[in-house]
Amino acid sequence: MRAILRVCDLSVRDQKGTLLVEAVSFAIPQAGAVVLIGETGSGKSLVAQAVLGLVPEGLSVQGRIEFDGRTVELSDRAALRQYWANHLALVPQEPRAALDPTMRVLPQITGLAKQAHAHQAMTSLSLRASVGRQYPFMLSGGMAQRVLVAGALTTQAPVVIADEPTKGLDDDRVEETVSRIRQLLDHGRAVLAITHDIRVARGLGGHIGVMRAGRMLEQGPVEEVILAPRHAYTRAWLDADPDRWPRRTAQRIAEPVLHAQKLTYAVGDRRLFQDLSLTLLRGSITAITGPSGCGKTMLGNVLLGLARPHAGTVRWCDGTDPHRVRRPALRARFQKLHQDPASAFMPGRVLRRQLEDLKPVLPFGCLARDLPPLLDRLAVQPSLLERRPDEVSGGELQRIAIARILLFKPYCLVADEPTSRLDPLVQREVTELLRTLVDEQDMSLVLTSHDKRLVRAVAHDVIDLQ
């Protein structure tokens, strides 16, 4: 197959001369797809930015691209600019931020093309004409993305770059997004997709390139790489897919820690959940799932007594209702693990101090007695506690947050999307840890997650908020 765009020896360096991307080469076949996959910081986005000439100021690029036989140096940003719109189109990362908030949709996607052309592009993506008259803030994220795909179709560009098309999307939207991008292929455009989600590669087919720490570890046709990965990292990556996790056998102790009856919570006119009853058992994992904005976090907060439901009651295992009692005796036994570990600690205060701040609510001597073995169990170096939160990595901070929670010997832990911002490998590690802690500590874990596959892999009970 003839290559329409060939990227040769692309390297990116920062101001100090450190290599961020090292000699990456690949070729995009005409009307075919290339998917670059890798974790955060692997340099995959820099590759896309370098091809477009949009690398942030201060970084220097070397290498060249071959376009239909012509060669362009990647260090020459002005020359790359000539290729915009006519040869290269972009479907940007965050669809809604890429649209001018003060301009209606149709003139924006028309761009330099004829309006009839834009109409045609919108129709081919089954966007109604009325969408063209709306302002970007009135569109949903998915709709905005469709608009941007239509925008790519109004240009003549044979190559479309899709930057993280599934970032921040709900689980069930991924398929939809992939099929939307496949429509670009159906229209005869070639696609370069940048992603951290293996499902994008599976869905688009074509070639896949696995990147790590600025290097291309391996590349080849998607089926070959997935079926027979040559590199250990690729194999680990594929195994981190929740669909491939080993199922766990249920071993419940039927001792309830929380009863909730007929809970209702509404925001304005919208009911997030209604007449919801549930019981949490020790040693079991209950998952709350649903699309973003469906009230997963809110339900967790209601169970913890942080947010008052509009109707219904919550009863903890000693019979108190946390919404009726001002200072429930079991307050600290019902804990929460936050999504972003960095925000779960006060910025600028040494971690050990932050743990010592808890002394007034901990039993006397508990900190000195229980903390060292906990840190040991969670494989946290005690010296890390002498640092401030921003001097510790995300994964370590998450484990320190877990240690802080375990100091209270919780009966119930609500983990709010604990892995949604983590790369697949770390995601698996953290989830495994939580799973074993449920058994060891004999607590009840409530896991909120939009990732249905993750939920399927670990939970005993699933509450789906649709």
């Binding site: 477009l52 949009l54 600019r81 915009w84 719109a85 006519n86 290269l88 189109a89 972009l90 940007p92 990362q93 965050e94 931020a97 890429a98 649209l99 001018d100 908030p101 003060t102 301009m103 761009g111 330099l112 709306q134 302002y135 803030f137 009135m138 925008g151 240009t155």
Partner: protein, 324 residues
């Protein structure tokens, strides 16, 4: 969308009108309280104002006390007085004896003329400089304007005025110093006000432009083949205008502060000058008239800014609030 617009605009108008009314009411109350709190006999002061010191007599004072009904309980006086204010009758000046409304109409006209010229002049200077600085953050123009803005915002208005007087009047003898008879008299006060206004607005314009330039939709427009200039005109101007217009309205407050000083310095017969002389003479009805006029104008301008912002940025209509 249509429904949102129908609701949002009247709501903004209602809010600002209520605000203007409350401001007026509070100012009026403060003035009334102070009027009765300042030491000395009210009737005596009014008599001095209307008749002059020479024609004063105890009988005249008593006559005025009866005429103005000053012996009634304070609360009754307050409500009667509010009623009169609501119908537009603020009373007569203690000093000149003329109706306050009449005096203010004249002074307001002068001030409005000065305000419009100073305003236009300041934006004529600030817009090109601010945009140039924002298009190239950290460039030479940006740094120079940042320095100038810091210096100008640390200068009290009267110092700018004094500097201009010493250059253009005393040294070069180009312009008339003070008063208001010919249009040339407007030049120095207007420049003084404009220079004071320019410093902060230049920075706001620069920040707005720089933010828009760095936005994702700007990059996207570039990648879609729009050149720098074309993309800026298409997407930049409108988006950058929202914070600028909001700020322009808030700047009316700065302009107000400026009036008091500049009009006094140049002896310009506007509202600011009237208010300062009235304060010095304890001419409470005039002070109150000025305060009411300034307070309500301020609210009216805020309302205009809200409406303009809603028209420019449809998101604000959806959220149902404008500037601030």
């Amino acid at each position: 969308m249509q429904r949102a617009v129908r609701h949002a605009v009247p709501r903004a108008v209602l809010r600002r009108v209520l605000e203007a009314l409350s401001v007026a009411l509070i100012l009026a109350t403060i003035c009334f309280a102070l009027l009765h709190a300042i030491p000395g006999d009210m009737a005596l002061r009014i008599a001095v104002g209307q008749l002059g010191t020479e024609n004063m007599s105890p009988a005249a004072v008593e006559q005025i006390r009866d005429a103005e009904m000053l012996s009634r309980p304070l609360l009754v006086q307050y409500f009667d007085w509010l009623k009169a204010v609501a119908t537009g009758d603020i009373g007569r000046s203690f000093v000149s004896g003329r109706p306050v409304a009449e005096e203010l109409r004249q002074a307001g006209g002068y001030t409005l003329r000065l305000a419009v010229i100073a305003w236009l002049l300041s934006y004529a200077l600030a817009l090109p400089l601010g945009i140039a600085a924002g298009l190239k953050p950290d460039g030479a123009i940006d740094r120079a304007t940042a320095f100038a803005a810091a210096a100008f915002s640390s200068l009290p208005t009267f110092l700018i005025g004094i500097a201009l007087i010493s250059i253009f009047v005393l040294a070069l003898n180009l312009l008339p110093p003070a008063g208001y008879r010919r249009p040339e008299h407007l030049v120095l006060p207007a420049i003084t006000l404009a220079l004071g206004l320019m410093a902060p607005s230049m920075r706001v314009i620069r920040d707005a432009v720089a933010e828009v330039q760095a936005s994702a939709y700007m990059t996207y427009a570039h990648v879609r083949g729009f050149g720098k200039a074309k993309a800026f005109i298409r997407h930049g101007l409108r988006n950058a205008s929202v914070p600028i217009v909001t700020f322009a309205a808030l700047q009316f407050a700065y302009l107000m502060d400026g009036f008091f000083v500049v009009e006094t310095l140049f002896n310009f017969p506007g509202i600011g000058n009237a208010m300062v002389s009235a304060l010095l003479a304890r001419d409470v009805p005039v002070v109150m008239g000025c305060a009411l006029l300034i307070g309500t104008t301020f609210a009216a301008i805020s309302l205009a800014a809200d409406l303009i912002c809603m028209w420019m940025d449809p998101r604000l209509v959806d959220e149902g609030h404008g500037s601030r």
